[in-house]
Amino acid sequence: MARSLFKGQLKLWLGGGFVLAVVLMAIFADWIAPYDPYRQNLLMRLKPPAWMEGGSTRHLLGTDNYGRDLLSRLIYGARISLLVGVSSMVLSCTIGLVAGIFAGYKGGRCEQVIMRLADAHMAFPDILLAIVMVAAMGGGAFNLILVLGISRWMIYARVIFGLTRSIKQRPFVEAAASYGAKDVYITFRHILPQLVPVLTVLAALQVAQMILQETALSFLGLGVPPPAATWGNILAEGRDRLFVAPWIANAAGLAIILLVLSVNLFGNGLRERFDPRMRQAA
């Protein structure tokens, strides 16, 4: 028991610590980044990282095809990945929460319509919907947030729906209803607080998925258009120079997997803390 508790804590601290570091890095990019991420220097094109032959400590991670400093581009790129990841999570969480509570609390036809819609949406690959929407609306951070937010609402809706329906049948909700509490009051006072732990875990894990989706779309050329420094863009540029400058793609790929892995660790750590059943099983 004590050991598993520690394990959960370790995941939380390790994952959370790295995420926090990336967040701070993104916020203070202006001070941390050694160069302007957009300044081109054609004399310094495709310089390898410091530890490789021909590299220098002036550009720790090397430079890209236009002589832009890779480290600076990665630091600034964290801004867009985090911004899009977190904002689209908030959007899809809000839509899913409202839809799920509505379907679970009202039941009947309301439930039928919302949950069938969620089922239909679930079967449809979310990246496909995202591609079609980006194709129609164009790229850019704002559109990405909108697209990704809409493409994942049903994951929250299904979980919240099940929970709400079971909470609704619990005695304290029935008691509240019997002394005349309004639906809105019951929702905010009695149901919503019960949903918070599950929602927190789900949201944390979904941020990782959103970051992956954002980088995937950028990689396909459907994200924030270049020259914006995003991790997906850097990776896509790196793919085109894989033969001469593999470090570009690898630095971006490593950044993505480290961030996603730590968000996942953090989310799993949260789950083990919140869910007593999981804590015993672990």
């Binding site: 449809f124 990782a208 980088t215 790929g253 892995l261």
Partner: protein
Amino acid sequence: MLRTIAHRLTLAPLTLLLVSFVTFIILRVTGNPVDIYLDINRTPEQVAALTERLHLDKPLLVQYLIYLRDLVQGDFGQSLQYGGPAIDAVITSIGPTLRLLSAALLLAVTLGTVAGLVAAVYRDRFPDAVLSALAVAGQSMPSFWLGILLIQLFALKMQWLPTSGSGGFKYLILPALTLSAVLLPNFMLVTRTAVLDLMNEQFVATARAKGLSRIRILLTHILPNAANPLLSFLGIQIGTLMGGSIITESIFGWPGIGRLMISAVSNRDAPVVLATVFLVSITIILANLVVDVLHSIIDPRIRH
């Protein structure tokens, strides 16, 4: 069982209707086809002809109904990039995508089953720890980077396999590996959980009491019973796999539906985009139907 299938079959046209409506509206509302189809030097006659052909002067709902009527007849409109009917371009790319999908599925299912079994048997011991850690890392691995790493290792460094394109079996290996990784970690974890659950069942205890070997119990008692939850999992994941195929195809220049779709999107070739989305939806619906039928074949309890 028949009722489930009948239910799905009635739901299928509804889903398709919804998909066609949403994609049609999204693509029509956001861009004026006249600007997309004709260049700046267009003459008023050309504009008039196009308006006539696409019924652009009619209300949007009427346009959609006309579009639906054509769609039922298999007419998705003319492709802007290729000239011919949009459906032709889509049909020629089905083959490569299906080949890629089935190879990836085969890889993920065999490797995932074996890894899941091993992890369950050695629960909480070294092999389980390694495999489970790999699975968690795999869940965080973006498939586009995995593909790029595989290209660097096997195509650029070792020069065993081609970097991209299509042709013989050699061209299939890296894309199939990349795509299978979308499914593999989760498939392994689901197998592990399913097998662990079954190990506590009474019939397993009985088999053990009869003195059957562990491997025999695993293969003849546990695995067949784990097939059903695994099949359900696959049914849910088909959409994810199709989505992963879009990315994999564009990494490796694989001439399938995904690459066609991306190129159609960047060239604003709306008829082809609509046709690909439609086809992918049909594939997902059919695949889920197959999963339902397989369910009843594997588990006689469902049939009754």
